[in-house]
Subunit: 213 residues, 2 copies
DNA sequence: GCCTGTGAAGGATTTCACAGCC
DNA sequence: GGCTGTGAAATCCTTCACAGGC
């Protein structure tokens, strides 16, 4: 498997996997890049090119076997195993994350949650008892953790992320509304609804005319 | 102002605006593209090129006036006004969205929330009383709505989005884990933590070696 | 006849590099 | 001397178009 696969390609693979899972649930045996592209609003050529980075999974004249391609993508993305996840920051947002039912079925197992607020420490959130953030470093030495979800206030995010990275965590999902810095060997993704909305208002403004004088 | 500004450029502007707001809060008067780039991990040339689509806001030898550039970006993005937002789907996730304190200070005013579950209708969430989704069309005829936040289960998302679009909503923030289809004049953004995590596991897998035999 | 896999072409985006101004 | 604004160059990404297999 060659080494330099564009990041944009990687970022599309989970969408392909999700669409294939839906097709599989519907009982579809086979899908063409055309049909998959319509589901995802991606051109068929792009799907074929993306997949070609990893191998040859289709059959000319037929398309792709749904189960087989799904299994391949799950293997490529590492979705065929469990990942250990912690949540740092268990305010309203963090609690919603811990209780969100969408992670576990996808193999993301939340193993612990931490907060700096003494009033929260010890509190039970779903299956998880909130720990003090003072225990974070010790916990990371003791327990393997693959992904850290950061849901602390913006001003605290960089420090928390630095501690996670120093302890060997190599993937960060950042909900804090701030641009955090990580070394090049650490993956980071940002979840930021306000930023997403602010890029849409640009288009709304164009549409509504610049009547505001 | 020329018409075709790349979408990637638009998507970076809110990040610039946020960094400038931070600088302004710190009392900084002036910033160079170099410094701004370090804050955001963007090259200085990219910042200058992006801004050049909209005008000439800097001074050679000095950099950009923080307040002035921030004001310009807020104007360009339409952040200098209030936007009316509704939330459809007020389960755990939707409730967290309605109660999230980060929207209002940025000018995103949540004016109503809707759910299909009779057990939720009438319930008070923060400032908002949950309405039946049956009232949605009527509400949209009566009240102006700029942005619809969709937090319903995946299988219901497309139908909800179609109704919003039919009623004239031109921006959708979709929290449902599905690819939704909208006409080209409607802006849509997806918030999907699972998809974000699944693109990071690809990198984790590489790192941890393919020891799993 | 249909649909994949893929070089080659085309298009979009980023970076370079420097003239021009403070 | 420092830093912007911007054409030109370089790079990256997408789409085309078709050979080849089913």
């Amino acid at each position: 498997m060659p080494l330099e696969i564009p990041e944009v390609v990687i970022n599309r693979l989970p969408l392909y996997a999700r669409a294939l899972a839906e097709l599989a649930a519907r009982g579809e045996q086979v899908v063409s890049s055309q049909t998959l592209g319509e589901m995802l609003e991606v051109t068929p050529a792009q799907i074929r090119k993306d997949l070609s980075y990893f191998g040859r999974f289709g059959k000319q004249g037929r398309g792709y076997n749904v189960q087989l391609l799904l299994a391949k993508l799950r293997e490529i993305l590492g979705l065929d195993r469990q990942w250990r996840v912690i949540v740092v920051g268990v305010g309203r947002l963090g609690q919603a994350i811990v209780e969100y039912g969408g992670f576990e079925p996808q193999g993301f197992h939340i193993v612990a949650a931490f907060d700096a607020d003494p009033a929260l420490v010890g509190k039970q959130v779903g299956r998880i008892r909130i720990r003090s953030v003072d225990e974070l470093d010790e916990f990371l030495r003791r327990e393997p953790v693959d992904i850290g979800i950061v849901a602390v206030p913006a001003r605290a995010a960089q420090e928390v992320i630095d501690r996670l990275v120093a302890a060997g965590v190599r993937a960060i999902l950042n909900y804090a509304p701030t641009t955090a810095h990580v070394p090049p060997d650490v993956a980071i993704r940002h979840i930021d609804p306000v930023i997403a909305m602010q890029s849409m208002t640009y288009h709304l403004k164009l549409r509504q005319g610049t009547s505001a004088k």
